[in-house]
């Protein structure tokens, strides 16, 4: 989604978030990512000023101190930025892809099921339903590579093993990664 994204053309406006809205956001985030409960106050401190940056295609970036934390398109679930996932890797659901898929993900491709079921890859034992936002790790690497949304339940991916499994939202080196907010 952020393959071609630069601050000049795609950003329209930047406004502060009201503290009531900020509170609502925090609770929605905890609802979506239950493990985040422990660290939510570190990510979004009570006194912190959250800003929402509106971009093309109904995309909103939520940032604090000039660093993007989450983004949201339309009213879809929130997606953490890759940098945030690097800082708090265990608090987001994760999957692991095969080494061969790394190259394609880094050029913006989505992830097909075989990349998640082959030898080097790992899917969680419990089922993640379709629509869950997951952090994508790679075989042999410690830090996350991308963040995406499941298009199929993980059980389905294991069973069917065909077609697209994860829609990649943001990946290492994309427009969001290189975005500099003054």
């Amino acid at each position: 989604m952020f393959k071609k994204f630069n601050s000049k053309d795609d950003i329209h406006s930047r406004t502060n978030v009201k503290s009531s809205v900020q509170r609502g956001l925090k609770s929605k985030l905890i609802e979506q990512f239950p493990k985040l409960d422990h660290v939510i106050d570190e990510i979004i401190p009570k006194k912190g000023q959250l800003v929402v940056i509106k971009c093309t295609d109904r995309l909103s970036l939520y940032a604090m101190d000039n660093e993007v934390l989450f983004y949201q398109q339309f009213d879809d679930p929130f997606v953490p930025s890759l940098r945030l996932v690097h800082k708090f890797p265990e608090y987001f659901p994760s999957v692991k892809v095969d080494r061969g898929a790394i190259k394609f993900i880094l050029s913006g491709a989505n992830i097909m099921c075989p990349g998640l079921t082959s030898k080097g890859a790992a899917l969680p034992d419990e089922n993640f339903p379709a629509g869950t936002v997951v952090a994508i790790f790679a075989e042999g690497k410690e830090t996350a590579l991308a963040v995406g949304k499941l298009t199929m339940d993980t059980d389905e991916i294991k069973k069917v093993n065909k077609g697209m499994g994860i829609e990649v939202g943001t990946y290492l080196g994309d427009g969001l990664w290189s975005l500099e907010l003054e």
Binding site: H38, H86, K87, G120
Partner: protein
């Protein structure tokens, strides 16, 4: 709260390609990345590129797969190097044009164009000009769709000086700053 410290992990990012060091091989600047890592974070360098680390990583892969990966990395690097070269050439070949345009009989404006390639923010630069020369400055788009900075008054000399120093600071001092007038008589200085 029971714990004092923060729960966040601090990740090291490569100074050359901005990726975490383990992904440097996909960035196309592996050699430079390795050199940087050796200087800045020797312990991580040891972890990733030492003899045993490489052997362990190569364990699962057959010989031809290893070679394939090697070749791919080389190709990526060559492509990146080419791209960087071309961009640099473009930058050096382009010039900054400082044009003096007549607004009315006694009044002139200075139009500065061709600054886009250098990654300079035209709005910020216009503001700097405005405060520096105590006059109005704005950014407009010209016929070709390129950004231009229009400065009121006949401040061409100062502008040329300022722009040359600005380019020098960025390291692009071989770029020409061309002075022209909007009349048939042209004055070119570099």
């Amino acid at each position: 709260m029971a714990e004092e410290g923060s729960k966040s992990l601090s990740v090291i990012y490569c100074g050359v390609c901005t990726f975490p060091p383990e992904y440097c091989e996909f960035g196309g600047t592996l050699q430079k990345c390795k050199d940087w890592l050796k200087d800045e974070h020797p312990s991580v360098f040891e972890q990733l590129y030492s003899e045993d680390a490489l052997a362990k990583a190569a364990e699962g892969l057959s010989l031809e797969k290893q070679e394939k990966i090697e070749r791919e990395i080389q190709k990526l690097q060559a492509k990146e190097a080419n791209r960087a070269e071309k961009e640099l050439q473009k930058k050096l070949a382009s010039k900054v044009v400082v044009k003096r345009v007549e607004r009315s009989k006694r009044k002139h404006v200075i139009v500065v164009s061709g600054l886009e390639v250098f990654g300079i923010d035209p709005k910020k630069l216009a503001k700097t000009f405005a405060s520096k020369f105590a006059t109005g400055a704005s950014v407009t788009k010209n016929v070709e769709g390129k950004d231009e900075i229009v400065i009121q008054g006949d401040v061409g000399d100062e502008v040329e000086e300022y722009v040359s120093t600005l380019l020098e600071e960025k390291g692009l001092d071989s770029v020409k700053v061309e002075r022209t007038e909007d009349k048939p008589k042209k004055k070119s200085q570099s």
